[in-house]
Amino acid sequence: MATDQSYLSLLSYGDAGWGDDYLRGMVVTLEVAVCAYSVGLVLGLVGAGAKLSGGRARYVAADLYTTIVRSVPELLLIIYIFYRGPAAIRGLASLLGFQTQIDINPFLAAVAALGFIVGAYTTEVFRGAIQAVPKGQMEAARAFGMGWWLRTRRILLPQMLRFAVPGLGNIWLNTTKDAALVSVVSLSELMNAGKTAAGTTKMYFFFYGIVGLCYLAITIASQLGVARLDRWANRGVRRA
């Protein structure tokens, strides 16, 4: 620790300050958030498809998934999946006949846990957005002889995106904030960098405040990005 206790030197880069710890933590937080969000987007499309496909069993399964995830605290789900997930994957692997010892690192477990949560929220957003696209659009595409994949790719996805962007933006913001919960399963991300710094120096206000500012920076940058994305998704739409 530097003898000069000015606040700026506490945040310097290297052994003397905590700047580099924060930076590394922030990178891990963003990595967890981006990976979990990607997993969530895929799960959401699958979930929305299951809810809208018309199959009874698929609907019930998807509905059970969204209802449970949205009413159980994220903290509980993260702890549960973090500790149970690897065993479940190993069990599945041995069922399929793989006998190798699969090592699941904490990062992947955290991404899986958070992604599973995000998927429940994106399912609802995608479902609403798909339903908001006028039915006649898909019927017209079918009349043109387009196949299922072509219809989905050319007609449904571009049009539903316009309705989905605000909801997806909110979910992204929640994902970055929920990434802080991963700190309870001791992944060295931003929150844990703050915990270590605050615990070592006993300067709680200052170091947790810096964590807050880092998250605020992520949030504000994301809000600007979402606004741009929203304009892009709404291109060509007439406005009053």
């Binding site: 209802t67 449970i68 949205r70 009413s71 159980v72 605290p73 994220e74 903290l75 509980l76 702890i79 549960y80 500790y83 149970r84 913001l173 904030k177 929920d178 802080a180 919960l181 700190s183 309870v184 929150m191 703050g194 915990k195 605050a198 006993k202 709680y204 206000f205 947790y208 405040g209 964590v211 807050g212 998250y215 605020l216 949030t219 504000i220």
Partner: protein
């Protein structure tokens, strides 16, 4: 099978006690937070920058940082600051101010004030202007219009959103476990540490959370139905019978 049932019979009373603490935290912070949300929303819709600017910044701060960070800043930061003040440290209030419960309740309250203030401000802007004008035509003062027209209308219209927010608040109370409040999540992890029965403890807790969310959602749905009675087809009243003579 029998040992499992014995274990669950021992576990559930403890969990329900923890759930009681979660609900207490939910009620305290829900009530305080939503009352604080009213001035936050009022300031946000104001045209005076001295009012809307701080409100906007407060909302951005609450919505833009994780609740966990807010809880840590208050519990460790504010707790340390208060502990260093002799006037507080040796006052009769210190045994209470040392309680983690109050820091968690404070953090959840101001967090709720930010989120609810944001929603309420939107709902207040959506109140049809004709209703405000009607209030004015009746000679109501600005305050009376707010109290009798804008606020009830805004609350009623945002009830479905508040239902969702309250479930989120219930889930957020689980974060109080990280600062030693013995609510459901904390009791669960303690029960697991004693018994090493992971699935039994955590799945039981999940079931309790699901049940509580369900009760909350149903309660809000009921309130919504009650408060929107005027939107059902009207029953003929005695006044209408006088004003519109039967044909």
């Amino acid at each position: 099978m029998a040992p499992l049932i014995d274990f669950l019979l021992g576990l559930w009373p403890k969990l329900l006690e923890g759930a009681g603490m979660s609900v207490l935290l939910l009620i305290v912070s829900g009530v305080i937070g939503n009352i604080l949300a009213v001035p936050v929303a009022l300031a946000r819709v104001s045209r005076n920058p001295v009012l809307w600017l701080p409100s906007e910044m407060f909302i951005q701060l609450m919505r833009g940082t994780p609740l966990l960070v807010q809880i840590y800043i208050l519990y460790y930061g504010l707790g340390q600051l208060l502990g260093q003040m002799p006037a507080v440290r040796y006052s009769f209030l210190w045994p209470y101010l040392r309680e983690a419960f109050w820091y968690a309740a404070l953090a959840l309250s101001i967090n709720t004030a930010g989120y609810s203030g944001f929603i309420l401000a939107g709902a207040m802007r959506a109140v049809p202007y004709g209703e405000v004008e009607a209030g004015r035509a009746f000679g109501m003062s600005k305050w009376k219009i707010f109290r009798r027209v804008i606020l009830p209308r805004a609350i009623r219209n945002s009830l479905p959103t508040f239902s969702g927010e309250t479930v989120l608040l219930l889930k957020s109370t689980s974060l109080a476990s990280t600062v030693t409040v013995t609510e459901l999540m904390r009791v669960t992890s303690e029960a697991y540490a004693e018994s090493f029965r992971f699935d039994e403890c955590y799945i039981s807790a999940a079931i309790i959370y699901i049940a509580l969310s369900y009760i909350l959602t149903r309660g809000f749905y009921f309130a919504e139905r009650q408060l929107n009675k005027d939107r059902l087809p009207p029953k003929p009243s005695s006044i209408a019978a006088v004003a519109l003579p039967a044909k």
